[in-house]
């Protein structure tokens, strides 16, 4: 994390591209909380890169003044990993939707998490495909009626993003709500401060296409994780992820631990390699001499 010298306010992180989201979209709250968190952490506009895939949520980087990479549907995580590996000093934050990160992009998530790539991933979970005008996403309630599932989706279960991230080995896993920008901003700050792969599941309702997971529904559903929750216990965290109190949704940090990051491990690889014989181009050519 590189802090900036000048003092920037949240609004200084906002670009002059006007958000294209529907009025009332949950993603506005995420944008606000992120600006807020960036300002609180004094992130540099130039040493921060916001990466995304495709979806309503994935448009977020355009609305910030930092560097950004609006990649392909599902590919934000491996793009972000490439950025971080090439330039470990950069702060790399990934934004995406539930479809982007857990449907088409779901094959990348486990490996980014288990390798503990030092990027922060903020998912705007609206339990729907917003940009393509309303199809079920992996986090949609089973049986949901949507455009490609007019008689109800046949999915028996849905993705539990928190449990997935925990099982994959993410070293920081938290959840918050776009309707509570203060709590969200705090969690985003913690996630960015965390060394290693951090994941924040943000409930961010789509009022246009999802009539189940609405602001109204979540307004009163959020409760903080119990004070005695042991953030260092993986199985306890999984239990909390799988079994929230009936009708409730947890806000807070489920899990946090310190593991070597991919960048750290690769540094060790390079050290070992350099201790080995043959170190430069001429020596490499010499290896082929007869």
């Amino acid at each position: 994390m590189t802090a900036t010298a000048e003092v920037l306010k949240p609004k200084d992180y906002k670009s002059d591209i006007r958000p294209v989201w529907c009025a009332g979209c949950g993603d506005y709250g995420v944008l606000n909380a992120v600006q807020n968190a960036f300002a609180a952490l004094k992130l540099s506009l130039y040493d921060t890169v916001c990466v995304s895939g495709i979806g309503c949520s994935s448009r977020l980087p355009y609305f910030l003044k930092t560097y950004g990479f609006h990649s392909l549907h599902g590919r934000s995580l491996p793009v972000a990993v490439g950025i971080k590996l090439a330039r470990p000093e950069l702060e790399v934050v990934v934004f995406g939707g539930d479809g982007d990160l857990f449907s088409i992009g779901g094959g990348h998530f486990p490996h980014v998490a288990r390798k503990n790539s030092d990027v922060t991933c903020i998912m705007m979970d609206n339990h729907i495909y917003g940009l393509t005008k309303g199809q079920v996403s992996p986090t949609s309630t089973p049986g949901m009626v949507a455009t490609t599932t007019p008689f109800g989706a046949p999915d028996t279960g849905s993705v539990n993003p928190l449990a997935y991230a925990l099982t994959y080995g993410a070293s920081f896993v938290a959840q918050s709500f776009s309707g509570n920008p203060k709590a969200l901003s705090e969690i985003v700050q913690q996630a960015i401060m965390h060394e290693g792969f951090s994941y924040v599941n943000v409930i961010s309702p789509c009022l246009t296409f999802n009539k189940i997971d609405t602001f109204d529904f979540y307004k009163d559903a959020f409760v903080d994780l119990p004070a005695d929750h042991d953030k260092s216990n993986l199985v306890a965290a999984l239990d909390k992820a799988f079994n929230p109190p009936a009708g409730k949704v947890y806000n807070g940090v489920f899990y946090e631990t310190q593991r070597p990051t991919l960048v750290e491990n690769l540094k060790k690889v390079n050290q070992k390699a350099k201790a080995d014989k043959n170190r430069d181009l001429n020596e490499f050519v010499e290896e082929f001499a007869i």
Partner: protein, 579 residues
């Protein structure tokens, strides 16, 4: 005798490849040129493996045609090569006491029985030394670097202890002595040595050459996913990149590999990935992103037999269509293809230079037989290559106020200076959406048209950046041959032969296959009555692209059996076309 091809065939795992590599190196030390050709089974164990080495006192252009000498380690190898044991060839085979049950007699073929298994087992008490027995016999009989070979054995096995050295030397001698004592040499093949010492020579494979070229070009990032026959590019760089402060990672699939590469390059790395056809198919969407977002990157495709999983260990040049035309939309890119091992070094450097200069994805096509084959080549001097780096944004130097950095600024060359994260005033959003100069999404007809023009126009001068295709032969010709990739060497050899026979034949040897160097191609074609395009694929892919782009009326000559052309095949086709 200035040219000799020896082929060894047997079961995978019998030490055929390592023995072959030793005799090749020994020969190179004694001043001979060498070029090898290897064929592996697609399975891990069992199956027919083949190693062929061509020796010459002069430059070697291709694998050659057939062989003069075949050494059969088992019955399967003998059966597979039987049809090529034509009058004038020599067979050395494991008999008696080995897998081959009967004495072999073939009309016009000199057959030397050599009980290699028996000698190894009985006399040396080490079955694994069978390959050395064979090597000794071959080196002795065909007078190829026997002394160099023994020297090499001492060096290579030295650290395993004197006992190992001794048994291997004994095996070589045993093979040589058996031939001396039991066969009167009746064939004419004798290589001999040459005056030059071979000091300035290295032996390197096509896949290693790509790796070495990447290092010379300043590559510092590779993300890969294992795939035959490309894995060796990554294997090679995995050892060397970290020593030069670079990074190599194995990703979860080819999609992630290219995504890693694009992220790394966006952040300033010189990044590449290496794969084969199936992997490149999976990368098509990201290739389009690299085009749209103008991100430099190099993708090496070591082609294999297709389609689908196809023939993973076989030779083919059938990914050209995809390389040039793959992916949705009008996605600009550059495609290069290497002729031989030296070329693989050279073109990898050029690939990086083009990627950086034009901010574009560059594909480099090689193929399975080139990837695995080794050649003796002149030792390259890493300092002699010019290395190009991308045009970097300088705050205020973009002709705009820093706050107005235009990542996709329309310029005369089409190339716009690129900022890297960390550059104050250079922030922008790299994007796969159509965009304005500032990188904001824009779907107006004007922006789409001018950005499309930008992406393609900037590549117009690539045809001048890459050296013009070599013309072989001069004056007007009855036939001109145009080919690509590793078939070029075979064409060179065939055209040399044709011209030696008085035929009016020329050839053109393009390395840039997309966009085409149309001017030179048309000029060449205008001096030829007919144009022949040999290539190893079913559809005649290059012939079709050539026709489509230049209108040249190409006669397509495709073969598709999983093997490269022989010079003889091409020579015969030349004669047929000229008839």
């Amino acid at each position: 005798m200035s040219d000799l091809i020896i082929r060894i065939g047997g079961e995978g795992g019998e030490g055929i490849i390592s023995a072959g590599d030793m005799v090749a190196e020994a020969a190179a030390r004694s001043g001979l040129e060498i070029l090898t050709f290897k064929s592996f089974p697609a399975e891990i164990r069992g199956g027919y493996a083949m190693y062929q080495v061509r020796f010459s006192k002069d430059e070697i252009l291709s694998e050659g045609t057939g062989f003069q000498v075949f050494c059969a380690f088992n019955q399967e190898a003998l059966d597979k090569n039987r049809s090529q044991l034509v009058p004038g060839t020599v067979l050395v085979y494991d008999y008696p006491g080995g897998d081959i049950a009967e004495e072999v007699k073939i009309e016009g073929v000199t057959c030397y029985a050599l009980p290699m298994s028996k000698i190894a087992k009985k006399d040396l008490d080490m079955y694994r030394a069978k390959n050395m027995v064979a090597l000794g016999a071959l080196s002795f009989t065909f007078d190829i670097a026997l002394e160099s070979l023994k020297e090499l054995v001492k060096e290579k096995f030295g650290r395993k202890g004197q006992a190992v050295v001794d048994v291997n030397l004994k095996a070589i001698d045993a093979g040589a002595h058996f031939m001396r004592d039991n066969h009167k040499k009746t064939d004419p093949y004798k290589m001999g040595s040459v005056a030059k010492t071979g000091k300035d020579v290295i032996i390197i494979s096509g896949n290693e050459a790509v790796g070495l070229g990447a290092l010379i070009a300043g590559c510092n990032f590779l993300s890969c996913y294992p795939i035959t026959p490309a894995t060796e590019v990554a294997n090679y760089l995995a050892v060397r990149l970290p020593k030069m402060d670079g990074t190599l990672v194995q990703a979860e699939d080819e999609i992630a590999s290219l995504a890693n590469v694009l992220g790394a390059s966006y952040a300033g790395a010189k990044a590449m990935t290496s794969t084969s056809g199936p992997g490149l198919s999976l990368m098509q969407e990201l290739l389009g992103l690299a085009s749209m977002a103008e991100i430099p990157c190099v993708i090496v495709d070591v082609q294999r037999g297709g389609p689908s999983t196809g023939l993973p260990t076989k030779h083919e040049q059938s990914d050209l269509f995809m390389a040039c035309h793959g992916g949705h939309g009008d996605a600009s890119r550059v495609v290069l293809s290497a002729e031989n091992v030296s070329d693989a070094i050279e073109l990898t450097v050029i690939a990086f230079n083009i990627a950086e200069k034009y901010q574009t994805p560059v594909l480099l096509l090689t193929d399975g037989s080139l990837g695995f084959r080794t050649e003796s080549i002149k030792r390259p001097d890493p300092r002699k290559y010019s290395v190009v780096n991308r045009d970097r944004f300088k705050a205020g130097g973009n002709g705009d106020a820093p706050s107005k950095y235009l990542r996709y600024k329309l310029t005369a060359s089409g190339v716009s200076a690129m900022s890297l994260p960390g550059d104050a005033g250079g922030a922008y959003i790299s994007t796969g959406l159509e965009h304005s100069e500032s990188s904001a999404p824009s779907f107006t007809p004007e922006d789409h048209a001018r950005m499309s023009d930008k992406r393609f126009n900037k590549l117009a001068s690539v045809v001048d950046f890459v050296p013009p295709p070599e013309v072989q032969g001069d004056g007007p010709a009855d036939l001109g041959v145009i080919s690509w990739g590793s078939t070029l060497g075979t064409v060179r050899e065939a055209v040399n032969q044709a011209r030696a026979q008085g035929l009016k034949v020329k050839a053109l040897h393009p390395k840039l296959v997309w966009p085409l160097q149309e001017k030179q191609i048309k000029a060449f074609a205008s001096t030829c009555k007919k144009i022949l395009v040999p290539e190893v694929n079913k559809q005649g892919q290059f012939a079709e692209i050539l026709r489509g782009k230049t209108g040249v009326d190409a006669i397509s000559y495709p073969i598709y059996g999983g093997l490269p052309f022989s010079p003889k095949q091409i020579l015969e086709k030349i004669k047929e076309v000229l008839k």
